[in-house]
């Protein structure tokens, strides 16, 4: 007797949508293990998590605030992975965007907000896109693996930022790695009173719609999907695969850069070393949970944000370390993978 995988006939659409939901439930259930190990009371822990993230108006809006960068990096990963461009460099692209946004913001003092804010966004988008173009060029021109190059560039950009924050971009007179504040005009306006709900969140939602539009309605979206599914056949059909990969990288990097823009222009107003607690890497898990679909990615980003924000209050109330958020994040990715598999195959017991 042994177990094998047998292909199953395609599941109807509505089940496909439920799969991420199922994965989330399984993940939450499994996360009881580390919570218990940390000595946390189960009911109290989950309650404080959800209340901390969704219980009050302020908490809910804070969750939205944290969801914005996750949405951007999630979209960055989803958009790239769809074309099988393994962009693991969202973290570095985010930093590039943050640096560009900070520099532009610092020097935009004399501009009106209507000009400064878009300028900051464009600068961040372009910087992120340019940083993502490097692994794309290395892949298309030199056949270098995109996983390794995009990863290594994260570290390079991290050190570049270190250099800048201890050097040219350092707040004069300070010994901390911190930039001067960006001009008032360049800051993202807060849209809802008594909260930090800012323009960046709306931009993230808009980005989701734009990515959806590109994917499903445009010729480029069709080409990117073809390249992701079978680059050889795509080339056979006359699609310029290298051009598609490069454009995908530019957009993907730009989206990640926007995450950096948001954090700089809406949350911290300075450039800091720890401007990103790993949003770039989380974006990958976000994208997978969202099945690489723009709407799914946004919803998944919201879920991750619930966990991130909720873990803080859970930690305060029950003493479970905040890192439970990262544990849940990693678990959800693994659970989602298995769930995706089970939509295509079922486990069969075979008699010998």
């Amino acid at each position: 007797m042994r177990l094998t995988l047998a292909k199953r006939s395609p599941l109807p659409g509505w089940i496909q949508v439920l799969v991420p939901v199922g994965a989330i439930l399984v993940t939450l259930a499994l996360s009881a293990i580390p919570i218990l190990a940390a000595g946390g009371d189960i009911r109290l822990s989950y309650a404080s998590l959800f209340r901390g993230a969704l219980g009050t108006r302020y908490n809910f809006l804070e969750t939205c605030v944290k969801a914005a960068p996750l949405t951007f990096t999630g979209l960055a990963a989803a958009f790239a992975f769809r074309a099988k461009f393994w962009n693991i460099g969202a973290e570095g692209q985010l930093l590039a965007g943050a640096i560009a946004a900070a520099w532009t913001g610092i020097h935009a003092g004399s501009l009106p907000p209507a000009a400064a804010v878009p300028l900051v966004c464009i600068a961040g988008f372009l910087a992120g896109g340019a940083w993502a173009a490097i692994p794309a060029i290395l892949k298309t021109k030199y056949k270098v693996d995109d996983v390794v190059t995009s990863l290594l560039l994260n570290y390079v950009m991290w050190h570049i930022m270190g250099y800048l924050l201890f050097g040219p971009l350092q707040m004069p007179g300070s010994s901390w790695p911190r930039s001067p504040a960006i001009a008032e005009a360049a800051r993202f306006p807060v849209l809802l009173a008594r909260s930090r709900f800012h323009l960046g969140i709306v931009l993230a939602a808009a980005a989701m719609l734009i990515v959806w539009f590109i994917n499903s309605k445009t010729v480029f979206g069709y080409q990117a999907r073809a390249v992701g599914v079978n680059p050889r056949a795509a080339a056979f059909g006359g699609i310029n695969v290298n051009s598609v990969i490069l454009k995908t990288a530019l957009i993907s990097g730009g989206l990640a850069g926007m995450a950096g823009v948001g954090e700089t222009a809406a949350i911290h107003f300075h450039l800091l070393m720890d401007i990103s607690p790993g949003f770039g890497y989380s974006g990958i898990a976000v994208a997978m949970l969202g099945r690489l679909h723009p709407l799914g990615t946004a919803l998944s980003a919201f879920f991750f944000s619930v966990i991130l924000v909720g873990a803080q209050s859970m930690s305060r109330i029950t003493g479970v370390p905040t890192y439970i958020a990262e544990v849940i994040q990693g678990m959800s990715l693994l659970v989602m993978l298995v769930a995706l598999l089970l939509t295509e195959y079922r486990i069969k017991a075979v008699r010998n």
Binding site: R2, Q223, A233, G237, G238, V350
Partner: protein
């Protein structure tokens, strides 16, 4: 005794000595059943093999021959039925079990590692539990086997340097090294030239004389008549008939394979051909190993003409087709359609020149299996449906529906994922995509490989139709029957060069066979 009767007998009565050991049958497969998803590959198949005989397993593509043998080899597990080796019931969960019982299989796709040497390929996995590789002992054993069975290959040569015939010898040696007494060969002549086939057949006869039993899977009637002692015909997953070779004929077997009377294949007379439409000049192309695969090939095909390029796979046809498709950059030479030279290594340019292209590997090169039928239809002309950067889905849908209807593609609608379609219907998608636009030239590489008879007839019909509409057609095929049925002129490719070219009526299969083996060449 027929297999079905034998299987009726089942186990000997209790108390009697196990009859099995006196059985003249080395292999008995009874009531074998196998389904994949909802496709029945084998239904209630009974198959037997006697010691020292060469038994052919005949059937068209998709009849279930490979599946049945994969079950015997332990690669697949049957869903039902029983296998007995020399009278003893066996149950295989992996090829390792079958090998332990003396069964060896030479698959259609070689199981060799090109970068390793012959010796390493033969020895892998069978060092009898010894930790360190003892290549010298293995070499001795291998050389002894080579002597005994007349299969000579250099043990230290990396496999990729060997010709296909040599690689096949390594495959056979692999089985013999593991003391196989039952050898299964799956379509072994598909990759061989006629002379190499003769070589293989004499090897098989030697094996049979030494007491080995051979199962020979093929869909080529002529060869089966030439080598087998007995033939089992499979059709649609079930045994259609069993015959001794002496008691049957090609015609009877052909009818049994398809289950109906086949009309005589008639060569279709040609309309008067026009001007040169597709011209290939001095094309030289390198393969993945940076060796010359196509050497200075020049061909001219007129509008309304089919030039059949015959030749065994591996003589440069793949690289030639890829160069024509724009997937491979030639070292030198040019391609022109209707007098206009096409930029090379540019699929877009090839498409724009009005070339219909049917690739050899339809799944890996021609189709996007995870996408819908509709998305596959527009792979080449999707830009035509562009409206301000957006894809005009309604028009795309209409286009796809029209083609599905016109070409009779069996699918659950245009949104169905391509990989749910059968091989024949997948090829129809490609045919629809490539031939519906009234192409000026068509390059078709192995267009009917792996298809069942119905699909083959369909593809032939469409190719002829394209020709009658004025297209210049280059038909690259390793199937001589197909070449002779369809072509107006026949050319042969051997080791990258054209070794012979003649009008179809001015040459014969024998002559073409000689050209295919490089024995003769009418070209300088």
């Amino acid at each position: 005794m027929q297999a079905a009767e034998l299987c009726e007998k089942k186990t000997p009565p209790a108390g009697s000595p196990s009859d099995g050991r006196n059985s003249p049958f080395v292999v008995e497969m009874c009531s074998i059943r196998k389904t994949f998803l909802d496709v029945t590959a084998s239904s209630d198949v009974n198959f037997t093999l006697r010691e020292g005989e060469i038994c052919a397993l005949l059937g068209e593509n998709g009849a279930g021959k490979t599946t049945l043998m994969n079950i015997l080899f332990g690669y697949y597990a049957a869903d039902g039925g029983e296998i007995r080796i020399r009278g003893e019931k066996v149950s295989f969960s992996s090829p390792g079990d079958a090998i332990a019982r003396g069964i060896g299989m030479v698959h259609q796709h070689f199981t060799l590692v090109p970068s390793q040497t012959v010796l390493e390929n033969v020895v892998v996995g069978s060092s009898g539990g010894r930790f360190f590789l003892d290549l010298s002992a293995a070499r001795k054993k291998l050389l002894a086997l080579q002597e005994r069975f007349g299969l000579s290959v250099d043990p230290d040569a990396p496999v990729w340097t060997l010709p296909i015939g040599g690689q096949q010898k390594v495959e056979i040696l692999k089985s013999l090294y593991r003391n196989a007494r039952i050898l299964i060969l799956d379509e072994p002549t598909a990759v061989l030239a006629p002379l190499e086939t003769k070589d293989l057949f004499s090897t098989l006869k030697t094996l049979a004389a030494e007491g080995c039993s051979v199962i020979f899977i093929s869909h080529k009637l002529r060869e089966v008549m030439g080598i087998a002692d007995r033939v089992v015909v499979l059709a649609k997953g079930a045994v259609a008939a069993e015959r001794d070779i002496s008691g049957t004929s090609e015609r009877e077997l052909a009818n049994l394979m398809v289950g109906r009377e086949l009309p005589e294949r008639r060569y279709q007379s040609v309309k008067r051909a026009g001007n040169t439409m597709l011209e290939i000049s001095g094309l030289t192309v390198k393969n993945d190993r940076n060796l010359h695969a196509v050497r200075d090939v020049s061909l001219k095909i007129a509008s309304g003409e089919i030039l059949g390029l015959a030749g065994v796979s591996g003589n440069g046809q793949r690289e030639l087709a890829e160069a024509l498709f724009g997937l491979r950059s030639p070292v030198s030479g040019s391609v022109s359609v209707d007098g206009k030279q096409i930029p090379t290594a540019n699929p877009r340019a090839a498409i724009a020149s009005g070339m219909g292209r049917i690739p050899e590997d339809r799944m890996t090169t021609g189709l996007l299996l995870e996408l819908s039928v509709e998305d596959n239809m527009i792979l080449e002309n999707h830009c035509r449906f562009r409206k301000t950067g957006m894809l005009d889905r309604p028009s795309v849908g209409k286009h796809a529906d029209r083609l599905i209807d016109e070409f009779g593609i069996k699918t659950d609608g245009r949104y169905a994922e391509a990989r749910t379609l059968s091989g024949g219907n997948l090829q129809k998608i490609i045919i629809a995509r490539e031939l519906s636009g009234a192409p000026r030239a068509v390059v078709a590489a192995q267009p009917t490989r792996g298809l069942d008879v119905g699909a083959i007839e369909y593809v032939h019909g469409r190719i002829l139709e394209a020709r009658n509409n004025g297209a210049a057609i280059l038909l690259i095929s390793e199937d001589l029957d197909e070449i002779f049925q369809l072509s107006d002129r026949v050319a042969v490719m051997y080791e990258g060069r054209i070794t012979g070219i003649a009008g179809r009526n001015e040459t014969s299969r024998e002559q073409v066979g000689l050209w295919m083996s490089g024995v003769e060449s009418t070209c300088a």
